[in-house]
Symmetry: C2
Subunit: 547 residues, 2 copies
């Protein structure tokens, strides 16, 4: 048996894992120390050089863009490993065997050094949370045992645990757990796809007179999905996947907080029906990616009900508010959704993925039901073997429910709610600092845990603001100093670029938020200075300068 | 900050993780010892009771179906945690705080005790591999750092690592890495969906005169997908998701080894074209789930080429043959596929998921390209920031590439190929034992690492064989003695139920395979005895017996 072939399972698994986990922990520590900040300096070229050097690519090793000494290359470039022709069974360029713990320490150091670490207070760009150590540890158990949720006999206890968790999550959103159903997903994109697929098969199957999932899309029904201008792009993507086409999505206008305008929705629905189109779904967003804006759920639910249209709520971000007594009222009405998306790898501090898809009425799941003779034969189901196969779009499926369940068991809703509240406070602190700063401009009051703003360049021209804000963000990335978000407000024309802090680290202090904003301002000023210098330089000066 | 809120990242992460990982390792050891076999005894009811007891559900605790003492319940039923009303901030039914390491040890013990462990030689039902300890350890680094592949600034090094790995995997299958493209997926189901989506948009977009992903499916084109009767059910599922409908899939007949009949495909294609239908894709299977049968790829590639139809190869199982010098020739022709699926969580010994999707020509990826202003704005891409967003159907995406890369670095193709060959040998050993046993009947010579067979009941009647084989498998599950696979051969009528051993554990010995087959025979005999007894009992005996 080759070195490195030890298994993680069985009675011997823990002993095989221990030294390898030690190597990973050492690599995490080494890499964090080498990085020394929220991300590696040098930008994409620098990171590419770092990776190439560590993988032993001679072409890149001499030309590290960071100018730092390359990591020892050692053995084990995956490419070389695959090119291995069998003449060098010991592998590695020098012919020595590659010890698994050496490989792990080296590659973990590389991954860590080359990461944008959301546990660093200056890494606050995306809905990219720093995971809880306990959730990460729980996930190790899942990797080691490798249960798969597509049949009971690959995941006996995990099947039960997911079923119990889904019931609890259904209760959390206000569904009746006895009649709701759901599944753990790879994230909001998959959950949105599922909600829109079920809505498609519900609306078009009914209108077209045949089961869409069997016979395909009926003709001449002109399906339409209604989502706000600020809805996640995965709504368009789902429409493309589902054969409806991205243009089937009608963008409903939003207010300044990026909340859907219910009156506009009503008009658009009426017009669509008047044209003989088939409304398939209204997608409400509970927590837009940028502002955390929450669509007016009760009004949207009324309208959807009036038109008999499926209501899908994308609460991938805002679902976290349900954990907080302070913020939960923002999601009133979510329990009227026909289907919804939650993401515990956003406000839930899980390592990705930890998505959740729920439906209010289990029977609406029917189009996804599947019988695979090797997974859930009818006689096994009759004999009491439960199957989650028909709940998911995937087949092999890791029980991501386990880390969520362990987190809930240790922290409870109350503990998690305190983390949500802390991040909410940080966003308000950031907003106050932005408001008070003459060179910064706040877009709107934070709803959840993000602050959207921009740096004001001296000229005050919209196009200048766009260019300088985009450039200062890249400057911070290249210098390895900060990871701040960048987005564009809905609409047309210049002046829509904004920066954002997505504050998901409850250990970050208000002082660290202020320091991060000061870093942004300094980068904006540096960018303006450099622009002025470039503009002031006669062309001739640049000529003849080696690139 | 509540207990349990420590993060896995940053400089402090490793120290926060260490005691929690110790708790998980202890739980893995405790659970494996408590289980003492390939899966827990007691069947679904027993496992449900075990889980309910451990979660502290009083209703179930007293009625453990296994009759064993319940685990200490302690605090931390996720349901209770969510029901927490904030009056008990310390949580837990007794009001004590739930220490994260206690929770982890308890829940890991439960998950382990309640697992079907593929590291046990008697757990050999599914394409459900026992993961390598080194891959599991590598995955810990990913959980701890939580990179997400949807933007460079959430995963600088991981973006580079995945790009390098995909290039290497493209070379492995015989694509030109300079012109191929691909992505790591959640498994063959997602990869098949992607291949069929691209083929749909290629064929229908061309025929319909508009970009399908934007405008939806053109009318009156009657799209058709051709896949063998033994193709994975995810092909039908993909057709349903994509709006084509399951009935768009034409089942092409197979031979005894479950390989597609190319002459039949040719006829079916000709007929479809004659009816004015639009062939969208031919799906070839390289390694059917049951027999490992590999469709005749060169002939199918010729036919697909002749009709100008997209060829997708589902090599989720058979792709592992590429690692073995002995078996790689079986996949000759795979390099002619327009797209293909590989799964490293099958013959690759990764914890799930570790799927791969590849296309031969990067430009065919166009329908999936996406621009999200908050993830890959055009000016950032112009400034050199790479984006993998348009390569995946997902948005948030864990870098599963890392564990694969670490495994390749430590074991190389040669080391992994030895594991593949060992499992191939085990399947042939199993087949020989089956052939030699008067009460067992082999279906066909193993191609990869599975042996398909059945127990022969005394009557010899097809319906009896089906019933007894299905029942003996459930008996083995309920007794906690073995997890063997069960499937049905294509066709109609009784006599199609088969058992299978999917041999993916390279540490299993031939003697252990023989012992497992002996266990199957004994269970078949016991089942027949019990059936005879039940048949012989006068009805009256059962009357009046309390249920």
């Amino acid at each position: 048996m080759p070195a490195g072939a030890a298994l993680s399972g069985g009675v011997a698994g823990p002993d095989a894992l221990r030294p390898l986990l030690d190597a990973v922990l050492a690599g995490l520590a080494d890499g964090a120390a080498l990085r020394g900040g929220p991300l590696p300096a040098g930008g994409p070229a620098g990171v590419a050089a770092l990776v190439a050097a560590a993988l032993g690519d001679r072409d890149h090793r001499a030309t590290s863009a960071t100018g730092e000494p390359a990591e020892p290359s050692g053995q084990g470039h995956p490419g070389e490993a695959l090119a291995d022709d069998g003449n060098h069974p010991a592998r590695g360029r020098a012919g020595e065997p590659a010890e698994p713990d050496d490989v792990l320490r080296r590659l973990t150091t590389l991954l860590t050094r080359g990461s944008a670490d959301p546990a660093d207070p200056a890494c606050a760009a995306h809905l990219h949370c720093p995971p809880l150590a306990l959730a990460v540890a729980a996930d190790l158990a899942v990797s080691a045992l490798n249960p798969s949720q597509d049949s009971w006999d690959q995941a006996p206890a995990a099947t039960e645990l997911e079923t119990a968790l889904v019931r609890d999550l259904a209760a959390l959103v206000g569904y009746d757990p006895a009649t709701a159903a759901g599944v753990i997903t790879s994230g909001g994109t998959e959950s949105n796809l599922m909600g829109l697929m079920l809505s498609r098969d519900h609306a078009l199957g009914r209108a077209g007179g045949h089961a869409t999932e069997l016979g395909g899309l009926p003709r001449d029904l002109s399906p339409r999905i209604f989502a706000s201008e600020a809805a996640h792009f995965s709504v368009q993507r789902a429409a493309a996947v589902l054969g409806l086409g991205e243009r089937a999505v009608t963008a409903v206008p939003v207010d300044r907080d990026l909340r859907m305008d219910p009156a506009a929705l009503d008009v658009l629905l009426k017009e669509a029906v008047g044209r003989g189109e088939t409304p398939v779904a209204v997608v409400a967003t509970a927590g837009t990616t940028d502002t955390g804006g929450i669509d007016p759920l009760p009004q949207l639910a009324d309208i959807a009900e009036r038109y008999g249209v499926w209501l899908h709520v994308d609460a991938a971000y805002g679902g976290g508010a349900l954990l907080s007594d302070r913020l939960a009222p923002l999601l009133a009405g979510v329990e009227r959704a026909d289907s919804l998306s939650l993401d515990w790898h956003k406000l839930g501090w899980q390592p990705a993925p930890a998505g959740v898809f729920l439906v209010r009425r289990a029977e609406t799941y029917a189009p996804l039901a599947r019988r695979a003779v090797y997974l859930n034969p009818a006689d096994d189901e009759e004999a009491g073997y439960p199957s989650l196969l028909g709940l998911s779009l995937r087949t092999t499926r890791r029980p991501d429910a386990f880390k969520i369940a362990a987190t809930l068991a240790a922290l409870g809703r109350t503990g998690l709610g305190r983390l949500v509240d802390t991040c909410h406070d940080l966003a308000h602190h950031a907003a106050a600092t932005v408001r008070a700063h003459p060179l910064l401009e706040l877009h709107t009051t934070p709803v959840l845990t993000t602050a959207v703003f921009r740096y004001r360049p001296a000229s005050g021209l919209p196009a200048d603001a766009d260019r300088v804000n985009a450039a200062l963000r890249r400057r911070l990335l290249t210098e390895g100093r900060a990871v701040v978000g960048r987005t564009e407000l809905p609409g047309r024309g210049p002046g829509r670029v904004r920066l954002k802090l997505t504050l998901l680290n409850p250990h970050t202090t208000p002082a660290q938020v202020d320091a991060l904003l000061a870093t942004v301002v300094a980068a904006g000023q540096a960018e303006e200075r450099d622009e002025a210098e470039r503009a002031g330089e006669p062309e001739g000066v640049l000529e003849g300068v080696p690139a």
